[in-house]
Amino acid sequence: MKLNSILATDCGSTTTKAILIENIEGEYRLTVRGEAPTTVEAPFEDVTKGVLNAVMEVEELAGRKLLDGDNIMSPQKDGVGVDIYISTSSAGGGLQMMVAGAVKSMTGESAERAALSAGSIVMDVIASNDGRLPHEKIKRIRQLRPDMILLAGGTDGGTVSHVVELAEILRAANPKPRLGQNYKLPVIYAGNTKAQKQIQEVLGDIVDLDMVENIRPTLEGENLGPSRDKVHDLFMEHVMAQAPGYKKLMSWTDAPIMPTPGAVGSLIEMIAKEQDISVVGVDIGGATTDIFSVFSGKFNRTVSANLGMSYSVCNVLAEAGLDNVLRWVPLDIDRKELTNRIGNKMIRPTTVPQSLEELIIEQAIAREALRLSFEQHKAFAVALKGVQTTRTISDAFEQSGSGQSLVNMMELDLLVGSGGVLSHAPRRAQSARMMIDAFQPEGITQLAVDSIFMMPQLGVLANIDKESLSKEARKAALEVFHKDCLIRLGTCITPVGKTKSKALILTADLTFTDGTSKTIQLREGDFIQMDAPHEPIKAKLTPAKKMDIGGGVGEIIQTEIYGGVTGLVFDGRGRPLDIPTDQGKRLELLRKWSEAVSEYPDVKAIEVSI
């Protein structure tokens, strides 16, 4: 079915964002966006009010009627109304889950992966071997008040006692749901099928129990799909249905409402699959930072619950340490004064940097928040992930946090950033710098930012199940993603390997679409930016003897690369990036790197304050 127009909203904790996608001469394009404060909490306590306000803004900007009183008009007729309305939600703190598994590094980790990939925040992982005594676990479960619990444990046909013991602990804790006092807490059982009867006996009368296929039917096989789907179903049926106004909102939408990170994750997974590339996506918010990755076809998501730019900004300081934040700041700042300033940002989270100095500090903190979140992601994204994936028994024993990470920076093709500090940086070069410094890509990596954070809406659009709509909706999601969602920053080219100071590490011969050509010689320590549009550029990259640019040590690569708004960045600073501790040298380098990409308006202004 051809779609003329699609309205999509994302109900965040503070803002509800609406976008209108229209079919213009056979092409799906984002035409208008609007936003309004989210109205889940008092005094409004009805999410649909914020949705209607955001849609009204879209109506005004688009100059066409979408609402009939308090109803979204559908399907589109004579230029009025829309064909589809869909939504995501992370209001009210998103989906907060607790998971339990018999062995922490096996079923516990599988359950955590399933919950994270469904878009939830995992508050805690309870396991038989997590080192806590039963009464400590019980106390913890009681304190947390999750929205939902995923209970796993045991392979099919294996021992039942461990998972039943976990169920007994749950029963003793008798957890109450976070939202609403008058409904039972949803619990999904995804463990040993042989224990289903006992689990029913232990928990059946006190929680709302659902049984799905075992998340780990065999030691060497993981089956996350059924648990993830059940989490999505229950999210809407039980959890969000308790939040004010959601029943009404659910009746408006043409597809189930998805948790925001779940929608983003599924879109990133789809893009990676469609283009057969490795992708890392990051969304840095005020309270949390989400990281999504697809390497070798395996999807992973992590959420760093307390690493963010406003509500959690002091936690970034606490976890990274002041020295690590200050190493990115080319200013001599009183340390105590700086901590008070950052503290004041935490207690007044909606403020924006007015002075250049404030902006530089904020972007220094962002680098550390991103770096720490990515470290957590690399530690978690080990072994397998994905629906119905199979692995060998030898892999099964490498499933610990210290196991081999799936994240391979040399393999990474596309790094996408979103969230205020990246999407709304006054200069795009600042976003590129923050991402390069924090993620430290290797080889050839394209950089992009999500212009207005519409990945959630596109994710839910790409996931519409209704047969008559799904194909076209997916097409629309992909078209808008490529044409309107991403702002292509350019490509970062980083040779990796051991070399001497100032030695030549890479020669890049570039031929542009207009036939002109250019050669860049990159030496160790260099940081070079070159303007180039988002067009295919033929590149012959010749690394020095001991250097690798992606094809192996000393191997030449002939490929096509793309520029963008910040063009091409040749990064010879080495991996891992080493910043001198000597104040004078550090400031000199920071200023040099900054000037190389025209990161800040007036570097001299920075010098004045030193």
Binding site: H135, N306, S355
Partner: protein, 375 residues
């Protein structure tokens, strides 16, 4: 006229303050609608289920989990005391009898023949909720609690630590610029709420705790000193459960910042009056700010003042405080709200407000302003 929404902290001479006093789980409400209450009056009570101990009976007796029912000598739901034998197993020919004793006073809740575990529950934990402030019961929330209402002066702080506290207000600094110094705090301040000007050092606050001061209300405190108090770095502003004895309410923020004139004057007006304060802060969706509630006597209540505070935006003439560098802490009057986006020094494009501060006009992003809501 240009108009912009901006969040503000309340500094109200008179307001209709309502407080929900609810139990964490259902229980008994002890007051009736219309009852007058004092801060320490208990308004509702309940019993929280006791802590749970799980005893691996089958392991201790060296039997299979399926045999646990035969070994148990206490039935489910029966009260047990610490040291009481709850299960036993006769050994070979009745010799080498082994048993399991209860580690707690409580009841036997359940026994599992799958895991061989007995679940014992300790005695219920009584929980009481008091009225927090003087006033009257406006509403009963059946089985959960009450809503207490009072006409009161009401001040919101920006950040606090420590939970609820109460006491008489004593102004210890002579002006809103002055710091609270350790020597200003004496034994006379035990059980009182002391109010200072711009700052309290860690040393002075520790002195207040030692003197058993009920609470401190002050302009600022150093963020980096919180760690010494809390024992951890405060990463996320969610507070209220700290056992400090002396609640701390900051009216302005971190660092040395003079208390706003309105707040200081209002507190001075109510010197020697009884107030309830709460340092609990949650800066998340559904923000909770610390507060000072000073219930008013009949003779202090004025009919002229509008009770209900409205969440209104700023207009030309609004009194605002700048809440971010480079003008952090300055208070001024809005003179103009230009509608076009303007470029700041940071190159951020924002909607600004023009503020008159000490005769000078400053351009400040609207989101860096805090409305001073007063009456």
């Amino acid at each position: 006229m240009a108009h912009a929404y901006t969040p503000g902290l309340k500094v109200l001479h008179q307001s209709e303050v309502e407080k929900n006093r609810r139990l964490p789980i259902k229980g008994e409400v002890l007051k009736e609608q219309g009852d007058n209450v004092l801060p320490n009056d208990i308004v509702a009570k309940t019993d929280l289920p006791g802590n749970v101990q799980m005893v691996k009976v089958s392991n201790l007796l060296n039997i299979g989990p399926g045999d646990i029912h035969d070994a148990m000598i206490v039935k489910n739901g029966v009260a047990i005391s610490k040291g009481q034998i709850i299960a036993e197993m006769a050994g070979l020919f009745g010799l080498f009898k082994s048993d399991v004793k209860s580690p707690i006073d409580g009841t036997l809740e359940s026994v599992s023949d799958v895991t061989g575990v007995a679940v014992l529950r300790e005695a219920p934990i009584p929980v009481e909720v008091d009225a927090y402030m003087s006033g009257s019961v406006k509403e009963i929330i059946p089985e959960e609690g009450v809503v207490i209402g009072a006409k009161a002066a009401f001040i919101q702080g920006i950040f606090g630590i420590g939970g609820e506290s109460r006491g008489e207000i004593v102004i210890v600094s002579s002006s809103r610029d002055d710091e609270i110094k350790p020597e200003m705090i004496t034994t006379e301040h035990e059980g009182k709420i002391i109010v200072g000007g711009s700052f309290i050092s860690l040393e002075a606050y520790q002195k207040a705790r030692a003197m058993k001061v009920a609470g401190v209300v002050v302009g600022g405190f150093n963020y980096f000193d919180l760690e010494a108090l809390l024992g951890y770095t405060l990463g996320v502003a969610i507070t209220g459960t700290e056992s400090l004895g002396t609640s701390l309410v900051l009216t302005e923020g971190y660092g040395k910042i003079q208390m706003s004139d309105r707040t200081f004057s209002l507190l001075k007006e109510h010197e020697n009056h009884f107030a309830s304060i709460n340092g609990a802060t949650q800066i998340r969706a559904g923000v909770i700010r610390p507060e000072i509630v000073i219930p008013l006597d009949e003779n202090q209540i004025s009919d002229d003042i509008q009770f209900e505070s409205q969440e209104i935006g700023i207009d030309a003439g609004s009194l605002v405080r700048i809440i971010r560098a480079p003008y952090f802490g300055k208070i001024g009057k809005v003179t103009r709200l230009p509608s076009d986006l303007e470029k700041m020094e940071s190159e951020t494009m924002v909607r600004v407000a023009e503020i008159e501060v000490d005769g000078e006009i400053l351009k400040v992003p609207r989101s860096n302003l805090e409305m001073l809501e007063t009456n």
